[in-house]
Amino acid sequence: MISQGDFDKFVTSYNTDYYYLLTRAASGSYDCLISSFRVLNDLYEVVIKLHDATHLDFKVVPYPLTFRASDAFLAGLGFNTNQIANIYGFLEHVKRTQGQEFEQCIETTEPLKCAVAGFPHDTS
């Protein structure tokens, strides 16, 4: 059984990774970022499920995974207007390169296309 202390560290680790990925999106560094978000989604689901099904508490509150239309949340994390625009730009990038919305991409088990510089990666 996972202890509360370990769970807190696990959530802290998730939050750190999440913030790092958002920072990448904020800087416009979108390359293969969706793959990282998919992995993070798995972690997030473990966090939520553990909390839901055990005695563990959210002593450390996990950041919500999705960030569409979340200006207040993103600004609260310290991102400025341009950075927030870049983060939303990532959502458009995912739609353009994967043919699916970000939220669908992180849930699906279909292979992702590695997209570089805003366009689907040409494997030919």
């Binding site: 508490d57 919500p64 999705t66 207040a72 949340f73 609260g76």
Partner: protein, 154 residues
């Protein structure tokens, strides 16, 4: 009329519903946490939340861990905005009533042939979705006290 049709009823009136909800929240004297929020801050995630509700209805899914991301974002944002928990419960209750009234009015006006089973399935999903959001909110409001030193969002 199916669950997908009822989702369409919500979707096609989404902005109007959100505006109506904002006015109702503003007019509710028991809610105080909204006073410092701009309209954008108050609306925040509600349109996306309604999109998620509609997606769940359209897919005929049950609300749960995997399809309630936006509900958690809404609860989390209110937590970070320094909302009082009871005000969040109240604003969610107002949203619930608004949606139920809208669906009832639309179905009555259109004299739509909606099967009772479909109607109850929608009500079941809608209530479960909003209750699960509140359940999550209770957890972060009560368990995470002091866990986030960042300033409140406005």
């Amino acid at each position: 009329m199916t669950q997908a049709d009822i989702a369409h009823l919500i979707e096609t009136h989404r902005d109007e519903l959100v505006q109506c909800w904002v006015q109702t929240v503003r007019a509710d004297q028991s809610i105080q946490s909204d006073a410092d929020l701009s309209e954008g801050g108050l609306i925040d995630h509600v349109p996306v939340l309604l999109d998620e509700v509609c997606a769940i209805l359209r897919a005929g899914e049950q609300p749960g861990i995997y399809n309630m991301h936006e509900a958690r974002v809404h609860a989390y944002t209110r937590f970070r905005q320094g909302y009082r928990a009871r005000d969040l419960v109240r604003e969610v209750a107002l949203l619930r009533l608004l949606l139920i009234n809208h669906i009832n009015s639309a179905l009555t006006a259109e004299l739509a042939g909606v099967a009772l089973q479909e109607y109850f399935a929608v009500m079941h999903s809608l209530n479960l979705y909003l209750d699960e959001e509140l359940r999550y909110a209770v957890a972060i409001f009560t368990e995470g006290i002091g866990a986030l030193p960042q300033p409140a969002l406005v």
